[in-house]
Symmetry: D2
Subunit: 348 residues, 4 copies
């Protein structure tokens, strides 16, 4: 078990939330058919249909790497290109998984300032090459929230999907922290997905409070053809599927999915407010989800680490602090206090 000083390095360090845990306990009683033919899995799929208020196709995969890569592979062929932001997780942290699952689709990364893709950037990449010597753009993937903690507004999403429609591109949303986006915007999940033109969403369960399990939701149902075979072949069909699906049932039915996200978001807001005015500390991006990126003076980075705080600096060299579903406010306060203390000690 890590000490509190490490807890803000990643929202993957947290365990299961009580609702997910309870669902596991309940699902663990007795026997159930395997490979998704159980009652929990059917209920979970229906719960998603209720949440999104549409008759979507729902699948489950073990983790986000697979969920996103399988979805992208379903949306294009090996000789197609996938347009993404240059800080997109699929580009920077999946060890070539999208290329592997698709057997060679090339990621076409657009430079981005804040991690967001724009209609202009999409159009530029999509029209840059029209010859067969370069992968034909076929899919756009956006992360909601972005890897920088930014959130696409409904209007931004509509503009992107309009561009995609014009250009004949499928639109995928990497929702590893999708719940945080919903919590931040205070909108219906439908508003930032199918109503805004998203074809497929990967809805993250792990960071939301589960042990394993991401949902892949096809709003454009024709794209889901034979997707169950695709999951099976790629090693993503759980035999005891109920342990992936039951937590979703409970989290969706109780609203825990949203509360967990609201809590993480609130922690990041609190922390940002506490330290925003400090010398040597610059907020790199507006704080909209459960992360805070700080441009820190190098001395401050060292000093914080000397006090034991752990954080990554892989995006633009900034210090990233993540607030999980179970972040404890007193720990957040301790983090902020240390930063205030050290920043105050810096020559301003």
């Amino acid at each position: 078990m890590v000490d509190i000083a490490q807890q803000f390095a990643s929202d993957n360090y947290a365990g299961m939330c009580p609702e997910a845990w309870e669902a596991m306990a309940t699902a663990n009683v007795g026997h159930e058919p395997a490979y998704g033919d159980d009652s929990w899995t059917a209920r979970a799929a229906d719960a998603f249909r209720d949440l999104f208020k549409t008759d979507c196709e729902v699948f489950f995969a073990f983790n986000g790497t697979a969920a996103n890569s399988l979805a992208l592979a379903a949306l294009c062929q090996s000789y197609h290109g996938v347009i993404c932001s240059d800080v997109a997780h699929v580009e920077t942290d999946e060890c070539g998984a999208p290329e592997f699952f698709s057997n060679g689709s090339k990621l076409l990364a657009a430079p981005s300032e804040d991690g967001k893709l724009t209609p202009a950037a999409i159009a530029r990449i999509a029209s840059n090459r029209k010859d067969i010597h370069f992968p034909k753009p076929r899919v756009v993937t956006i992360s909601q929230p972005t890897e920088t903690g930014q959130i696409y507004s409904i209007e931004e999403l509509q503009a992107i999907s309009a561009t995609c429609r014009d250009l004949g591109l499928n639109l995928h949303m990497d929702g590893a922290r999708f719940a945080n986006a919903c919590a931040s915007l205070g909108c219906s999940p439908a508003d930032i997905t199918w109503r805004a033109g998203i074809d497929v969403l990967c809805f993250g369960g792990t960071k939301n409070g589960m042990a394993v399990g991401e949902a892949i939701i096809f709003f454009n149902r024709s794209l889901a053809q034979d997707f169950d075979y695709r999951c099976k072949q790629a090693g993503q069909l759980a035999s005891k599927m109920r342990f992936l699906s039951a937590p979703w049932v409970r989290m969706l039915e109780t609203g825990a999915w949203l509360r967990n996200a609201q809590h993480g978001n609130a922690c990041s807001q609190y922390f940002a407010a506490e330290i925003a005015d400090l010398p040597g500390v610059v907020l790199m991006f507006p704080v909209q989800a459960n992360s805070v990126f700080l441009r820190l003076a190098p001395e401050l980075v060292d000093a914080m680490r000397a006090r034991g705080w752990r954080f990554y600096t892989f995006i633009g060299g900034g210090a990233r602090f993540m607030f999980a579903w179970d972040a404890e406010m007193r720990n957040v306060q301790a983090l902020a206090a240390d930063l205030r203390d050290l920043a105050g000690a810096q020559p301003g």
Copy 2:
């Protein structure tokens, strides 16, 4: 939850055993580093090294499809062939996963009577074609126990591995029910793996009483080079890895892994003994693990199903009954009683 009449259709229908569950509960307290850098995962790897009495390389994957396919892909290139039995799970029930993970390795299936590969069959396939128009045999995979519930003896394994060494073939063991083999033979796990020349073992956790999670154990450590990257790229690196590894720790440390298997084996022995002498009922294979395959008169198949019993007949048309780690003896008795009752009613 399925009723008892369905519980012998598959040992995937059972839930988590108490030890696995307790480990999940313990592991769920607090934060832990992600992606296998946690203390549980290190402990689990060490527990396997203790169990096998050797310094093996240990990895974890979500399910058996992936574990076996990743291991096979590590043992050959796309233009190589994988020799297996024609009832091997990788050949018959993985939807082309080995071909997918390896980008095209062809499975070279040897006809088998009881599901076992023999040195002679391996040598025959390995020497059948020597030209570049056919995949070069490079790996042998055997299932221990086989899909028919047979168990390779230590001597049989040694003979197979000697053949593999002679022919320059790597040797992989699909141990989806490996614990049942150990329980049946009463030997050290080392005796039927590295001491018998196995290069890589996939040790099944799911059927042994876990929710998800198989261990991939490289006894030939040079074959494990960069295997962590392979797992990551293929969507098999769990972020909250502790939930895969902690159950292994507890199951290995408490001996539950073996007790669970012993129980399943005992149930199959009991059931087989109860019905072996019935008219219209023929044991297809010696009962060595936790399955019983019966050649039943067609009327008997129908009659049993009419009473609600569920079972598969995909291997040779035989009725397969599987006994999970939590099979209840009274239910086994009920199954046997119905079969006795119905068989007795048949014109002998």
Copy 3:
């Protein structure tokens, strides 16, 4: 250069026919745009449209391995199955190329007596498994002529395509020696392709008298979407494409494609007639294309080889004699004479 005794081992041993050669010479004058944007390639595509009397999509690949594998990959996804005969070249002699190009599609080989697939065999395999643990059948591939030198009649093809339509399967024809089939049936190429329900044909140029180059012809044009990208990515787009396409132009326009095939067929007919009545010699299959398969007494095999004759025995142990577009009749006569001589010397 091989001596005449080797010339019947393969119809790949022959060089370019005069028409192909002349086209190369003509095409070699001056500069031409690359990658298929030249005038020869456009003419070749049109020549195929004329030949088939339909507005098909035409592509060129370097060899048959690639042509067939690319076509199959275009007709299915990695988790789909490809139904073929168990002596199909794609199954027995492509070193896993179809699996490689498709990233894992499994070949589902039907046992066949004479190399032909039947509607019944197709239906049996297509309906054998309906679960996601086995690749979903999606394509049927037939070789016309078969690897055993058999030719599907128009009626047989219609029956197969009707079955495919019923079962939702795409239908591919491996026409490595397609010209020989046309020559044998004396029908329009259209009659045994799109009019009989073939979706895609790979029309072999190499065995027909060219140096390199096979045509991939999509009668079902919707299946050709982005196929040019597929060829490019898979290393099958020739920069100096005219050297693949110009020979096609000349061969189609002059009728050499058909004359070459008629000659090979005539040689096999002649040879078969000469030796059909010999003791210790059994025709394995009716002689319909440019090959003759003989069941020879083992002594006869040895004796023929002792006289220097080279032939393969990889199909059913039979001796295969192939007659290329340029087989010389006096050599065929010498072959027959030796066989007569030796067979007569055998104890009858």
Copy 4:
């Protein structure tokens, strides 16, 4: 046939040189064993061993896309990264072929000013990420000459290979125009390949005056293990291999390979000298091989195109003029004259 105004757009527009043609004619006589078991192919391999003065392994592929992609796939696994320049052909113009052949290896493109990779750039990329969430760098590929017509000196190559050795990276050379590099440096081919630490070279035949056919030459022979199977599976084994290998024999034996390159280089030198001093015309890169890249005033681009001249501008917006093995000096003069004429007419 294109008019002279198009002939400098690409050195792929030229046909076969007389030596290649003559070899084809000679090779076309009689029958030869298929799949590389012919005498021409053996002679061609030996000719390469003579040329490089070492016992290298030699293979032939149909085109450069395949040759480079197969070689790279042999040097790494799917989860590895391939370091290249950001103008490398494998990155910009192969439609994802390296990713396809390797089943997902990611190209890690280094920004480059003139198209060259440097030891510093290689080291920076190789050390940038050390975690399993990013492809592990395993191969470096350099183009000699580069896509910008630059040539690595012997010393530069030695420095690169020393860096590769230090970092455990294999080193591949894309020699689509390798002959032009030898002609430019006036050195032994050995000096800029194995003596300088290159593991594998793809030696381009097409641009050097052949119809099809590239040689893949493994100086590090252990990397060539089973490479023949890899070629076969990937559709790159020619049945009538002699038509790829015979031209190599004649071109190497007669020295045409070098003369052809010298001529192209000389044309580019001549052209560059003729126009280097013009207003509105800037040489983008030193002219070292058979290409000239010009930064032209936009009006000049339009004016040149209005006179019918065809050229690409895909690298840095510059006008690229390529001089093939058969470029006619009077046409080069006409090109230069038009540019002089138009540039003089520009407002200086």
